[in-house]
Amino acid sequence: MSLYTPWKKKRKEIQKILGDEKIIKESWEHYEKMVFLWIWSWLMR
């Protein structure tokens, strides 16, 4: 697993989603990816 907290794992932690899950998922993943790049930028030099 490359992202630290993939959506599948995060989804289980959220009790209820009354609205559109996709909106939350996409934003979650976007920032997981951003932070992945940030962390690994300190090795990829």
Binding site: S2, Y4, H30, K33, M34, F36, L37, W38, I39, W40, S41, W42, L43, M44, R45
Partner: protein, 412 residues
């Protein structure tokens, strides 16, 4: 330094220029003959500083100034088909985090030299398993406190604030150069040489984690740990190269899309950094895997064979044909053409010493040989051996670009 006016005789729109340049590089990459030999100018940060009459230190902080000088360089050398902008280390990000991976001009180093990597061990031998099982966990809990020591030594609150500041600074940096990239493509028709980067898994381990000394000793004491760690690194190396493209907002225009080129500086693979047997055991399998996966996902890989890769050249026959640009530094590029020219596109390698100490005539002579031999039948891109180094004479870069643009035309 003298300013160059490089005006082109025929005025073309940025869009035409962009498409033309992309086409040229794409064709050469796929081992065919474009209209002429493409030219890439990878400006070193110390060259940009010298051209602009400022210190390297200033360029690490003043992005606007650096961009402005690069724009002057694009105007001075319109024959270039892609450019490199001189490295990605930012002064503000460094300071915010108190990073200790590099010595920085204006701090540990004199203001007019390039930042330099500090050779050091940042992972203990007993931490291999932890790293291999959960790299992110290791990086956050062990690696960061070591490389950001300057701030982390001052308590947890200070450490957390340093991280927050570092990410703000990183975001500013990222946004700035992202916008410039778009501007240069649309206003100057100039592609950037690399679209993202990654590394050979072994180099990740040897450069930043274990260090040269420890990783060498590990080859004797714990070879299986190195191999496991490199294998664990493969998906991360692939993802690091690919993610910037999925995050980058697609440009709406109808420009030709240049296939994203993944820069891969190769540091410690070639003889004498290791033997061919050590190369086959520790370095090549996972590097090849990263390249093959990236190619399968539609990317072009552009490994930079730093140092002299002559002895290791034959391995490049094993990568997918027409999908890899091999940047040559000190290796015998003419021999490389013979050996791997039907598999990889070769880029390089006007020597740094020639650009600094040679005459324009000598530069032209070397470029002629490159074009005649390596350019034969396509699959060649003109470049400096280490890009355009700090001391390069302007008239020599002019000679390299003008001569290649003229003599490098392929007859149909």
């Amino acid at each position: 330094m003298q300013e160059v006016d490089g005006n082109l005789a025929v005025k073309k729109s940025p869009k035409e220029l962009y498409n033309e340049r992309v086409e040229r590089i794409t064709t050469a990459t796929s081992l065919k003959t474009p209209d002429r030999v493409p030219i890439v100018l990878g400006f070193n940060i110390s060259f940009i500083a010298r051209y602009g009459g400022v210190t390297v230190q200033e360029l690490m902080y003043n992005y606007e100034k650096r961009a402005e000088i690069i724009e002057r360089l694009m105007k001075a050398f319109p024959e270039a088909d892609a450019i490199g902008s001189g490295g990605t280390l930012s002064g503000p990000v460094s300071d915010a985090l108190g990073q200790g991976l590099y010595e920085i001009p204006g701090r540990e180093l004199s203001p007019d030299v390039s930042f330099q990597f500090i050779e050091r061990c940042n992972m203990k031998s007993e931490e291999y398993d932890m790293f291999t099982e959960n790299p992110t966990e290791f990086l956050i809990t062990k690696y960061f406190p070591r490389i950001f020591r300057e701030e982390w030594n001052k308590g947890l609150t200070r450490a957390k604030i340093a991280m927050m500041k570092g990410i703000f600074a990183h975001n500013d940096h990222r946004a700035f150069w992202g916008n410039k990239r778009k501007k240069w493509e649309s206003e100057f028709g100039m592609p950037m040489a690399r679209s993202s980067m990654t590394k050979a898994p072994f180099d990740v381990l040897s450069d930043t984690l274990r260090g040269m000394r420890e990783s060498s000793i590990d080859m004797y004491k714990r070879p299986e740990k190195i191999i496991k760690a490199c294998e664990a690194l493969v998906p991360y190396c692939v993802m690091y190269a690919e993610l910037p493209h999925t995050l980058r907002i697609k440009d709406e225009s109808t420009r030709k899309e240049m296939k994203p080129q993944i820069g891969m500086p190769l540091h410690r693979g070639c003889v004498p950094f290791m033997s061919l047997k050590q190369f086959e055991t520790f370095y090549w399998p996972t590097l090849k895997e990263v390249i093959c996966r990236l190619v399968a996902d539609g990317f072009i890989c552009r490994p930079f064979a730093e140092g002299d890769w002559t002895m290791n050249m034959k391995y490049w026959r094993e990568v997918p044909k027409g999908k890899v640009i091999l940047k040559i530094d000190l290796a015998d590029i003419f021999k490389a053409k013979e050996l791997v020219g039907d598999t990889v596109c070769l880029q390089g390698n006007v020597p740094a010493t020639l650009l600094q100490f040679g005459t324009p005539k000598q530069v032209e002579k070397y470029c002629k040989k490159l074009i005649d031999v390596v350019g034969e039948g396509g699959g060649f891109i003109m470049d400096g051996a280490v890009g355009i180094p700090g001391g390069a004479k302007i008239e020599n870069i002019v000679a390299m670009t003008k001569f290649t643009a003229k003599y490098g035309v392929y007859r149909r």
